[in-house]
Amino acid sequence: MPEVLKAPLVVEFPFTRSLGPVQSAFLTGLRERTVLGVKTTDGKVLVPPVEYDPVTADELRDLVEVEPTGTVTTWAWNPGPRRGQPLDTPFAWVLVKLDGADTGLLHALDAPGPDAVTTGMRVRVRWAAERTGAITDIACFEPYEGAAADTGPAAHDGRFDDAVSGIVAEARLDYVYSPGRAQTAYINALADRRTVGERCPSCRKVYVPPRGACPTCGVATTDRVEVGPAGTVTTFCIVNVKAKNLDIELPYVYAHIALDGADLALHGRIAGIPYDQVRMGLRVEPVWTEGGRYPDHYRPTGEPDADYDTYKELV
C-alpha cells in the first residue's frame, strides 16, 4: 500500500469578542496600569473580576482597585516556553493573589530559575511597553521585595477615557492532515487522470469519492473500482457570487455529476458550454489542466443527453 498523503493544515481565526461592563473596565484599567477587582456580595474581592459570582451567581458590578503587587499562591516551572506564551525564556507559571484581592490571577513570572521561585514569594506586575487593553498588557510578574500594603482595596468607578469594548482573540492551531487510506487512493488516482471509487461488499454500491465506509451498511468499502471518465449532470446551480481568491468568470455552473459506474454524484464545475445551456442529463467529461492533480472542470462530451430514468436514483 502506498504511503498515505499528509499535508500541513493551519487553522487560524481572529475571534472578535465584546466585553461586558466589568471586563471592559478591567482590561481598560490594565492599559492605564490600574488593576481592578470586583467585590462579591459577601465582601470577597475577585481579581480578575467577573460579572457574576461563581458561587451565588449574583450580578457583580462593585469595582475596586487593588495593588500591582502580590503573593504567589502556587507555581509551576516551565522549562520550554511554547508559541504564544508570555515569555520566550524559561519562566514560572504562577497564580498571584494581588494585595487587596482574595483570588489568584494566572500569569507568568520572570525568574532566573526554579530555585528562585517559592509559594508565598512576593511579586509585582511588569507592565508591557505597549498596552492595548488586554491581559497581555501585564507582560509578566517579577520578584519584588516589598511587603503587602495594609490598606484595603479602594473603590473605583471603573470609568476611563476611551474604554475598550472588545478584544480580538487570535487563535492559531497547526495540524498535519491525513485524509486516510480511501481518500489517499482517490487523490493519487486523480493525479494519474483516473477516478477511483470503492464498492460496498454488502450492498454493491460504488462510492465516489470514497470515504472508506458505506453509510447504509456501516461496513468498510475496500473493493476499489475505476469509474467514469464520463458522467451525467444530475442537478446543477448557477453561481453569481465570486469566492475569495477564485479566478473564474461569473456566472458559472456548479453541478452534481454521476460518473459512469458510480452510485453517488460528486461535485464539479461545468465549462465549455454557455451557463444557460447546462441541463440535467447533460453528458460531461473531466478536463485536467497542464500539471493539474485533479480535474479543473467538466465539459460536454457531445453525446446525446442521458435518459432521466438512468440517473433519477442519483438526483
Partner: protein
C-alpha cells in the same frame, strides 16, 4: 426508575499515531465489535450518541464522517456531544430512562496525532483572561500538583508511585499505549515529570446500553447503572481550591456512590496528581482497586478516555471481577468538570 445497564464494551488499540486511518476507519471496527458482542445489528439500535472534538481534527463537523460507520442511512435517531463520550453516554442513559428506546449505542474517539494537544486544549480556556497567555494543559496540571505538594498531600515520590502502579496495571491491558516500567523522565513543567503526564494518542471506544429485560437478554451479567451525575466548577482557576474537587464529590454523592463501598474505581486522572485529588474527594479506601486498566496514564485518547473508564468498569462487572464499581470522567483544566457513574452487577 427504569433499570438500564451497560451490556457491551469495545475499544481500539491506543496508538501514538494512526496516519493511515481516517476517523471512520478507526471507529468502525470498534462499532462492529460492540455490536457483535450483543448480536445486535446497527438497525436494531434505538438511539446512537457520540462524542468527539473538531479541535482535535482541525475540521468543522468532523464527527459526521464517522456516522458512515454506524450505517446512518436510512435515517437513524442520533445525537452528538462536543465532549468526552462519557457525556454522550449520560445523554443516552437519560433517553433510555424516558422509556422512548430500549437500546443505545454510544461511541467516542479522538485522533490527537494530527495536531498538538497542548496547544489545542488552550482553546477551551476563558478567552478573555487566560487563553491569550496560551497556558497548556501540562502547565495547568502542574500548578495543581504544586498546590497539592505545598498542602502536604503528596510529593514527587508519591506521584512517581502512582505513575508506576498505573503502567504496571496496564501490562495486563492489551489495548494500552504505555505499559510496564517507564522512567519518570525530566520535568515537563515542574513539578510534573514526563511520567506524571498522559501519553498523547489516538483511539476509539464504544458501549451498548440496554434497559430491563432487554439487558438481561443481551448480556449474562449486565453492569447496571445505579446512578450517574455530572457537575462543574468555576472556570477561573484562581477562585478554586485546586487541592480539592467539590464537583466530583457532589457528582458522586448524587450518583449514590457513598451509599455502599465500591470495590473498583476507574478514575479519569490524566495526571498523577489528579488521582490524589480524586481519591480524597471520593473517599476511596486502600481496599479499592483503582484503575486496574492502567487508566489515562496508560492511554488517554481525548474524548474517549472518560467513556473508556466507564467501559472498563463495566467490563469488570461483566467478567465477575467486580460487584460495585465507580467510574469517573473529567474535562477541562484541573478537573473542572466531573462525571461519576455507579455500576453494579446482580448479586451472585
Amino acid at each position: 426508575m427504569r433499570e438500564v445497564a451497560i451490556v457491551a464494551f469495545a475499544q481500539s488499540d491506543h496508538l501514538r499515531t494512526t496516519d493511515e486511518l481516517s476517523e471512520v476507519d478507526m471507529v468502525m471496527p470498534v462499532l462492529h465489535q460492540v455490536l457483535a458482542q450483543t448480536g445486535l445489528k446497527a438497525s436494531d439500535i434505538g438511539f446512537t450518541c457520540s462524542g468527539s472534538s473538531d479541535y482535535l481534527a482541525g475540521r468543522a463537523f468532523s464527527f459526521t464522517m464517522t456516522l458512515d460507520g454506524v450505517g446512518a442511512w436510512p435515517p437513524i435517531s442520533e445525537s452528538h456531544v462536543e465532549m468526552d463520550g462519557a457525556w454522550a453516554m449520560y445523554e443516552a442513559w437519560v433517553k433510555l430512562l424516558t422509556g422512548e428506546v430500549d437500546t443505545a449505542l454510544v461511541y467516542s474517539y479522538g485522533k490527537s496525532s494530527p495536531g498538538s494537544v497542548r496547544d489545542v486544549l488552550t482553546r477551551q480556556l476563558d478567552p478573555y483572561y487566560v487563553a491569550p497567555l496560551w497556558p497548556d494543559s501540562v502547565a495547568l496540571a502542574a500548578l495543581q500538583a504544586q498546590a497539592l505538594i505545598d498542602a502536604g498531600e503528596t510529593d514527587e515520590t508519591a506521584l512517581a508511585g502512582i505513575a508506576a502502579r498505573s503502567r504496571e496495571s496496564a501490562s495486563a491491558n492489551p489495548h494500552a499505549q504505555v505499559k510496564g516500567s517507564v522512567p519518570q523522565g525530566d520535568y515537563e513543567v515542574r513539578p510534573l515529570r514526563k511520567g506524571d503526564c498522559p501519553p498523547v494518542g489516538d483511539g476509539a471506544v464504544a458501549v451498548i446500553l440496554a434497559a430491563g429485560d432487554k439487558a438481561r437478554e443481551l448480556c449474562e451479567r449486565p453492569a447496571w447503572i445505579r446512578g450517574m451525575d455530572h457537575r462543574i466548577e468555576a472556570h477561573s482557576l484562581g477562585v478554586r481550591d485546586l487541592t480539592d474537587s467539590p464537583s466530583v464529590r457532589l457528582a458522586a454523592e448524587r450518583a449514590g456512590a457513598f451509599e455502599r463501598p465500591v470495590d473498583t474505581a476507574e478514575l479519569h486522572a490524566p495526571f498523577t496528581s489528579q488521582e490524589v485529588v480524586l481519591r480524597k474527594a471520593l473517599k476511596l479506601g486502600d481496599g479499592v482497586a483503582v484503575n486496574p486498566s492502567g487508566g489515562a496514564l496508560a492511554a488517554n485518547p481525548l474524548m474517549a478516555a472518560g467513556l473508556l473508564r466507564i467501559g472498563e468498569a463495566a467490563a469488570r462487572i461483566h467478567r465477575g471481577e467486580s460487584d460495585r464499581a465507580l467510574a469517573h470522567a473529567t474535562s477541562g483544566p484541573c478537573l473542572q468538570q466531573n462525571l461519576v457513574a455507579v455500576l453494579e452487577g446482580d448479586t451472585r
